[in-house]
């Protein structure tokens, strides 16, 4: 019984972690290549979810909705990069934080204006509804399994993109020395726009996939954005590998901690206290993990220097 519960929670943690990876991969790429700290990344998560809800409402197709989230968020990313973000690359971090904070206000209120304040809902297609038996007696939600699968596919795709393609070479070169690759004749501002669009698109896709489990509403992006920050601080800023390992670590720790900490504390104290204490500490667990990793390695697990 406990083993089955544990395994289920482990899968839930993986699913959560994979979603965090879609967010933090973009965030860490954007920081690594352009040196930009982008608070508005959560807004693309929200924009993706709203695009998906809109298209699902018009066509009734979940698959088109997923595609729309990816494309819609990427287009929004391109537009915002060209109009505003581009001017921030040379500024200091404070300006970047404030401008992207202002962007959150702008985008959140803009979406609220267009779609209203009520949450929208996305339906999971029939083929992914229900559960599927895995090995032993474990039964698990098909949709969550689908999310894990998509996440791994995207992680593999990103890996191939970065290591095997021409674009990937340019991105890595951009991380190492921005001036050098522009001197070598690479159109750096086009590269920046592409990287930003990739990041925004991935965030949008994550938003749409989670939007189908939870609801699609304004402000849905910010809690997950802050978790993505924790992830890239743990993994080391600029490292995609770090973002992947950090995401899984954070996802699993958070899920397992919330479920098992109250039970664990019941061994030492009476059950009412253990439940409230366990849930409080459980919600702080990832931050404690972050603090511990920082004490040992201030630049994160895979960070440079």
């Amino acid at each position: 019984m406990t083993f089955i519960l544990f395994f289920e929670q482990l899968l839930n943690g993986m699913q959560f972690g994979i979603m965090l990876f879609l967010m933090s991969a973009g965030l860490t790429l954007i920081f690594g290549v352009m040196g930009l700290i982008n608070l508005a990344h959560g807004s693309f998560y929200m924009i993706g979810a709203f695009c998906a809800a809109l298209i699902a409402g018009l066509t009734g197709s979940f698959w088109l909705a997923l595609l729309a989230s990816l494309i819609g968020a990427a287009i929004a990313g391109v537009l915002i990069e060209i109009i505003i973000i581009r001017r921030l690359y040379r500024r200091d971090h404070l300006d970047q934080v404030l401008a992207t904070f202002a962007l959150i206000l702008l985008l959140s209120e803009g979406v609220r204006w267009i779609f209203g304040a009520f949450p929208l809902y996305l339906n999971i297609p029939n083929i992914l509804n229900g559960s599927i038996p895995l090995f032993f007696d474990i039964i698990y939600s098909k949709y969550r399994l689908f999310i894990i699968l998509i996440g791994f596919l995207i992680a593999a795709g990103l890996y191939l993109l970065i290591t095997k393609t021409r674009l990937g070479i340019r991105i890595r070169a951009g991380q190492n020395d921005r001036q050098m690759i522009s001197a070598l004749g690479v159109d750096i501002s086009k590269l920046y726009t592409i990287v930003f669009a990739i990041g925004a698109g991935l965030a949008g896709l994550a938003g749409a996939m989670i939007g189908a489990i939870q609801s699609v509403e304004v402000g849905m992006g910010e809690p997950i954005l802050i978790l993505a920050f924790v992830v890239i601080v743990i993994g080391g800023i600029g490292s995609i590998k770090g973002a992947f390992i950090g995401s899984i670590l954070v996802g699993v720790t958070d899920t397992i901690g919330r479920v098992f900490l109250p039970n664990f504390l019941k061994i030492f104290m009476e059950s009412a206290n253990a439940t409230s204490m366990g849930s409080s500490i459980g919600s702080m667990l990832i931050y404690i993990l972050m603090a511990l990793i920082l004490i040992m390695k201030p630049s994160g697990l895979f960070g440079k220097n």
């Binding site: 920081f31 700290i37 505003i84 001017r87 500024r91 971090h93 404070l94 300006d95 934080v97 404030l98 401008a99 904070f101 202002a102 962007l103 959150i104 206000l105 702008l106 959140s108 209120e109 803009g110 609220r112 204006w113 910010e222 802050i226 920050f229 924790v230 890239i232 601080v233 800023i237 409230s276 849930s279 409080s280 459980g282 919600s283 702080m284 931050y287 404690i288 972050m290 603090a291 920082l294 004490i295 201030p298 630049s299 994160g300």
Partner: protein
Amino acid sequence: MISEHFFNKWIWSLLLIIPICGLIFDEPYYITLATKVIILGIAGVGLNLALGYCGLISFGHAAFFGVGGYVTAIMSYHAINEEILFNWPFDIFGSSEMLIIWPFAIFISSFFSLIIGLLSLRTSGVYFIMITLAFAQMLYFFSISWPNYGGEDGLSIYMRNSLPMLNTMNPLTFYLISLSWLLTSIYISYKLINSPFGMAFQAVKQNEERVKSVGIETFKVKLLVFVVSGAITGLAGSLYTDLNRFVSPSVLDWQTSGEIMVFVILGGIARLYGPLVGAAFFIILEQTLGAYTENWQFWLGLILILEILYARTGIMGLFNKKKTI
């Protein structure tokens, strides 16, 4: 161009005229609103020390604002219910005396800023921004999931805490109390900035390596600024709880951190009165635009972006082009 000194005199006369107008026209609401501006201004003055003068971009000052607020509410809650607050290592009772609550709020928010500072200051740059944000978020989630003090619903204290011989429920009295704290915090900042220690932390903002090479331990300098900054913001949180007679997890929200930062930047970074001007502008915008549209924050966002892209000196810089460091 108006000199900053002259501008500050205008600010002071406004601070005295507003409550008098409120009394004459019998509009206590405006006095309360002005009190809110002042309290948020104090929070900004606290952040300005770390952010403006020492270059520590803390995105987590909501933590200290919230801790100050919660300490105040919890002490007063225990005093109302006549429950003991702690019985270890010695008995501590709640209190509804501001003179007891203030030192506690300041002490405990300094303690939190010491711990958070010790951990976060090991890093710098973007890491520092994200880590301060993450720690504030950790306290936010703690306040939501800890059921003893209202959890998500927050905690009401019904009556403002009291000061001897004063009726703090009178809006004007509470306004003057907050005003004297604003004066005190600005005075402390002024004294600090012009002290040798102040020279050191302003130098850290410009070039930390050089300060190190002179033999100053910059980590200690930064930590001390961070603690003082957190303490001032914590005091503002305490006053804010008394103003609303209510505290909820929203004071610990990341948006609160962002807003305190916005006060500092809108008003003018590294200027003594900047945060106050920024807070005033913020509240005026909320009151005027908010009357016309629910989406007033859209316009706030637009103004902020324009300011950062084109007018980086803040409101005070529009009148007085002092070169800021």
